[in-house]
């Protein structure tokens, strides 16, 4: 990326500058950081033990909390670092905050185990950051268990990774990108998906599967609440597409819908990803899916 020429240019100029008066001026207060005081800060991670399912990133995961407590008499800032044994993933890698005296300041974080993580015990480590010597560390145990196997009659999309083209967010409201595959058919911010941009179609909601699965039915639940109906705000037109050999194939098309739930049945297909391409809603504004489910209805034996 950088060439030796670039560095050399600067080096020449640095030599040329020799003899110019040096200035050590820093801004007021900058010098006081030269020697850090041993801040009496306590770091904790809780709970000490947590159970996590391997895979299924869109199912609600239990949170851990990392906390910093200032045991001294003066306010301080503290930095901490969070790590986990491979292949666990943490939703936040660090936690730094202002700490008034005596007040515990804590934030949640989520531990996830990717699909295929071997069941067993793993460690999450929190480290209070100081310059040398290294700061204190604390650990918590994470028990990873295998998810229940998906049987022929179960919803193959449940909890799998969802990637919407957009997701509605304001200062006070945030729809959960996972909301349409979280196993909850309720229309609410936490448990449903709403596209971000009014009037922008198509919007897509894509679900990626960790391994190929067969399906022949997709059930789409759109929005309904005490103050709204599918006729007013629900999804009207959409295509259902599945990924086969690297290409998207349309397996169902729905047009003019006014119902809460629509089942689309098609020939059985084995796929690694499914997406709904939302083309229109009944209010003309947003794509709304409360829950998206896919099944393989094994033909009944005569």
């Amino acid at each position: 990326m950088r060439t030796s020429t670039v560095v050399a240019t600067a080096a020449v100029s640095m030599l040329v500058s020799a003899g110019v008066a040096h200035q050590t001026g820093a801004l007021p207060g900058q010098a006081d950081e030269a020697r850090p005081s041993a801040a009496p800060v306590e770091l904790a991670v809780a709970p000490q033990q947590l159970e996590v399912l391997a895979g299924l990133p869109c199912l609600p995961h239990p949170a851990m909390n990392v906390s910093l407590t200032n045991q001294g008499a003066e306010p301080v800032f503290a930095d901490s670092f969070l790590t986990a044994d491979e292949p666990l993933e943490l939703s936040r890698p660090s936690f730094s905050s202002y700490l008034p005296p005596g007040q515990e300041v804590s934030v949640p974080f989520v531990v996830t185990a990717p699909h295929g993580t071997a069941p067993g015990t793993y460690e999450v480590t929190g480290e209070l950051l100081q310059r040398l010597p290294r700061g204190d560390t604390v650990t918590a145990r994470v028990e990873v268990t295998a998810p229940p196997p998906k049987t022929p009659g179960s919803n193959v999309l449940l909890g799998e990774r969802a990637t919407p083209s957009s997701s509605y967010v304001t200062a006070s409201t945030a729809f959960n990108p996972c909301g349409a595959v979280d196993g909850d058919r309720t229309w609410s911010h936490a448990t449903a998906w709403n596209s971000a941009n009014s009037g922008v179609f198509p919007s897509t909601y894509e679900v990626t599967l960790p391994e190929p699965r067969t399906m022949n039915r997709v059930d789409l639940y759109t929005s309904q609440s005490a103050s709204s109906t599918p006729e007013r705000h629900g999804l009207r037109d959409w295509d259902v597409e599945v990924l086969v050999n690297g290409s998207w194939r349309t397996v169902a098309q729905v047009r003019g819908n006014t119902q809460l739930v629509v089942s689309s049945v098609f020939e059985p297909v084995e796929t690694t990803a499914l997406r709904v391409v939302a083309l229109a809603s009944n209010d003309g504004k947003y794509a709304r899916i409360a829950e998206l489910e896919a099944y393989y209805d094994v033909p009944e034996q005569p």
Binding site: V20, A21, L27, S96
Partner: protein, 533 residues
Amino acid sequence: MSTSLGRDRLLAASATRRRFLTLTGASAAAALSPWLLGIASGSDGPATPRPSGYPFALGVASGDPLPTAVVIWTRLVVDPLAPFGGMDYLRMPVEWQVAEDENFRRVVRSGSVQAVPEWAHSVHVDVTGLRPARQYFYRFRCGREVSPVGRTRTAPAANASLDRFSFAFVSCQSWTSGYYTAYADLARYDYELVVHLGDYLYEYGARPEVARQAELPTHLRYPTLGETWSLDQYRDQYALFKADPDLQAAHAAAPWITTIDDHEVADNWADEAAYDGEPWETFLIRRANAFRAHWEHMPMRVPKPVGPDLPLYRRFTFGDLMELNILDTRQYRSPIVAQASPEWQDPDRSITGAEQEAWLLDGMGASTARWNVIGQQNAIAQLDSRAGAGQTFGMDRWDGYPASRARVLGGIHERGVGNVISIGGDLHRSIASDLALDAGDPGAPLVAAEFVGTSISSGGDGVDIDAAGQRTLAENPHVKYVNVQRGYVGCTVTPDLWRSDYRVVEYITRPGAPASTRTSLVVEDGRPGIQAG
């Protein structure tokens, strides 16, 4: 987690770096220089910690120009998307140089400082002993790595006779909304100053609807676990925003004077009051976290924040031509109330706080400058948004604090301060207005002209005018111009004439939009009121 975005952007920043340094005329013969090997500096022994990669991924900046001083800034980061910028938790020595020429043949000041991890390896040097109204170039070195070169400019001497000054003002740069094409345009011009009026940062984090489709690490995505709240999260957001090559180019092109609006902390906060109902005890912790990260990332001369307090209002003079009063209308304001509330008209309510208001009026009263500028966050102008009878106001603006507006405009009028210009932001739209002593009285004397600039990116591509803009024009006869595209305002100030050029870009959800001047508006010396340019 993929860091492909970070890699792309580092590559883009690297291209910018190469371009600038190529201009300096490289000499490969110097490749064996001991400076290159990093062994020339006596204090730089073998045990001196060094970053693990190129540490200037956030570029350089300068700010708060005085006649003989300017602050130069950088923050050591090897990976903008990694926690702590991918830096070890160690002190790092950083050398700096200021020169009269971009080849650094005439270095006039230089020195070294320690970048410390507790302040996110940020470096602020108040370079003193400079000459007024001069262009300078600056750069940093850490270990073997040399930063991009920044260009800055000192202010003219306090009473120097000045026949021209040009500056740009900007606001509202939501990273997720789109590209900073307006900054690329701004960086092409020789503005002597850039004023940022707030919403440099947004606390929402990187939303999934981003125009800049990108795979970000989990901790930068929203909503992982709610809004930016802790210090590490604010730092991460600044690093994400500041990794942008267009923003870096704008910082490297001119000194900036910055202040805050709400989103540097949280939406619509007011002093100790959070808009979302967070108790003040924890909101002040959040504010302290936000302010520390803000200080770390801005080229400001203001002292470091003390807990949740960061005094930001300050004054800059540019010869005998212009004085800029930069305000903070967040930290000391009365609570935001509903328009229906009887408190709305309470004469004690203030958007500035009493102390800042007195400072503003006393300072303006004592000014000897030809043009007197108030740099504030939104619109002082009354902006009724209801069609027809009745009035509806945005209560987060000066409209929510009519007593404050009356005292400030009345105070300016009483003191006979002439040629007053208000510049603002926040609205994500350009609005130019005449400010009368009483907006409800067509016969009231004009006190000032106001130019509210649109956003750099917040709000998406935008349109020339929308229904709300038409209403603003129809309901508010003192409003002379509305536009709802993205951009910034370039100002050319002479003793006889103030000119504001509204620069707009055609779109921001894709890079590379063309920019143009949508309109030019002027104010004549001694004749308050906006006219077509």
